[in-house]
Symmetry: C2
Subunit: 342 residues, 2 copies
Amino acid sequence: MIERKTLKDIANDLKLSISTVSKSLSDSYEISESTKKIVKEYAEKHNYVPNKVARTLKTGKTNTIGVIVFNISNTFISQILEGIHKGSQDEKYDIIIMQSRDSIQLEKHAIEVLSMRGIDGLLISPVAFNSNYQQLKDLQDSGIPVVLFDRVNHDLQTHKVGVENQVSAYEATEHLLNSGRKNILHITGKNIGVAEDRLLGFKKCLKDHGLDFDPNLYLECDYSKHDEIEDSIICKLNYLKKTGNMVNAIFGATDDITTLTLGVLAGMNIKVPEEISVIGFSNIRIPNSLNPSLSTVVQPTEEIGLVAFSKLIELVQSKYPVEEFETIELKTKLIPRKSSTL
Amino acid sequence: MIERKTLKDIANDLKLSISTVSKSLSDSYEISESTKKIVKEYAEKHNYVPNKVARTLKTGKTNTIGVIVFNISNTFISQILEGIHKGSQDEKYDIIIMQSRDSIQLEKHAIEVLSMRGIDGLLISPVAFNSNYQQLKDLQDSGIPVVLFDRVNHDLQTHKVGVENQVSAYEATEHLLNSGRKNILHITGKNIGVAEDRLLGFKKCLKDHGLDFDPNLYLECDYSKHDEIEDSIICKLNYLKKTGNMVNAIFGATDDITTLTLGVLAGMNIKVPEEISVIGFSNIRIPNSLNPSLSTVVQPTEEIGLVAFSKLIELVQSKYPVEEFETIELKTKLIPRKSSTL
DNA sequence: TTGTATGCGTTATCAT
DNA sequence: ATGATAACGCATACAA
């Protein structure tokens, strides 16, 4: 077992003082070139690694950013994380990722763990509207900036980075209507911070096309009970069938819901798009050819991550408290495929 | 801006000593119940959060595990991370994830960053055979245990957690052969730690069926140049076509390669499985119905993560240096679909 | 039962 | 140009 060298060790070995060694390694102008050279070479040779923990304790800066998402293995999320990661590498920040699994309790716990451990800033896609508002506010007040991404429907005053939910939903809906499908079931997540605007866009589009929104053609799934989503979709479809109100299109408001819906339809032996067209927010990355039955609203996930990260760093590095916050809405891309264009 | 309270602050406010406060909060037997009560209530009220950085500096334990993977947004990897995360939550460990992007240089950097920051252990899926051997060895020697997962073909002496690569490849190959496809192109990654065994299984199966391995029907892609993989596949297929040696099946040795191959085939307008059957290692989670053309070898990703994590924690928490290491090979599942069963 | 003092490895301030 | 020393927040051995 080899112990790691500290400044003290090097100082002893070289018969120098700790501060001389420290300054040499940080290339201070106070130290002579010759001494610097000796110290640096010695450090290199014994591969000295500075203890970041000690440095953090001293400087108060952790060079770490906390990220809270509901599930890292979700395609959409992992693409955003990719963007965050890219940003972090340029800026020499480390990233600690925690999962909320769409539970307010776990989200709270994640915030606590991160705040204990010490972070310079927090990126969060909150579980629900105003979830853990007070904790996030306290964090901000203690000097740790917070930036919201993806699910930005939250009262916290800060930068928010998401997509044009309303517009995107409007366009997707219009696409369905234009292909002749007028009975559209809207499936969404309960209280998840993007649902509201997407529903608004959906409704607005119907209205603009002279159609009424039918509350029966609306299903809200509980994300915190993820396992039950499929069942509730099946249930809804069966109910509609039984009441002679079967739809000819489905609008999936999130990545998860869209994918699950397709699975359910396949399981029920309902042909897509012949019987039911499907359009949905989705970022699954598979070749078009593999996935002919799904028209998608694609979000610029990596960009969301990158932008959110850089807005956060802006706050972290700003010398004075920031008062003016931005809400950034990135554009999405509508990709029509066979599922909605018979 | 509200400052966070420290032990010192509480001690001052309560006219107690720092150590009394410290001991109270850790429920020491030395402190009277009444004092403990006062301190705890005060701490709770001002929501005191212990400074983990300081604690780490003192105790030497970070309660953090480093994880190095080549790409977090890869489906396969993110599923493994999910498993690691699950394990870590039970054990109260935090996870720091770094990406190597299949570059030995970046992998080295990741190891350095993690070791600077302080971790109690490292989980790594190495870039290549013996990549950064010395750094990992040094880490081990300095008392930070390392566990390898996924790509376990590496000389480092430690626990290794992967799947039965040889057996899985054998079975997948046999599946192709049994469906009558004998001209199989094997596409794999160069030097990535799972390739070798999968190729061995492939060859063995051919041999057992009285077939020779044709070096022309073999393509090795360079993962560190990810963007070029598609081109090299296209190139290979064109070459085979030109030389009148066209295959009727493809074996994809990794998740990425398999997906890319399908994209390429679609782009070239080659019908799957009519013209070319495809079977591959793949963990993309989409309903069967969406993905009828791909037979897969599915790996127990979450289990890989969980097992790797628990083996690491075993090392982290063991009082004495461990000498006996295990190589764990989990079972995979072959899922035949239309792509290989005309 | 409570308090004092020390050190973890840095950085930074102030001598020399 | 180099060195001595204090401080970051906590845990802990030891003193009272």
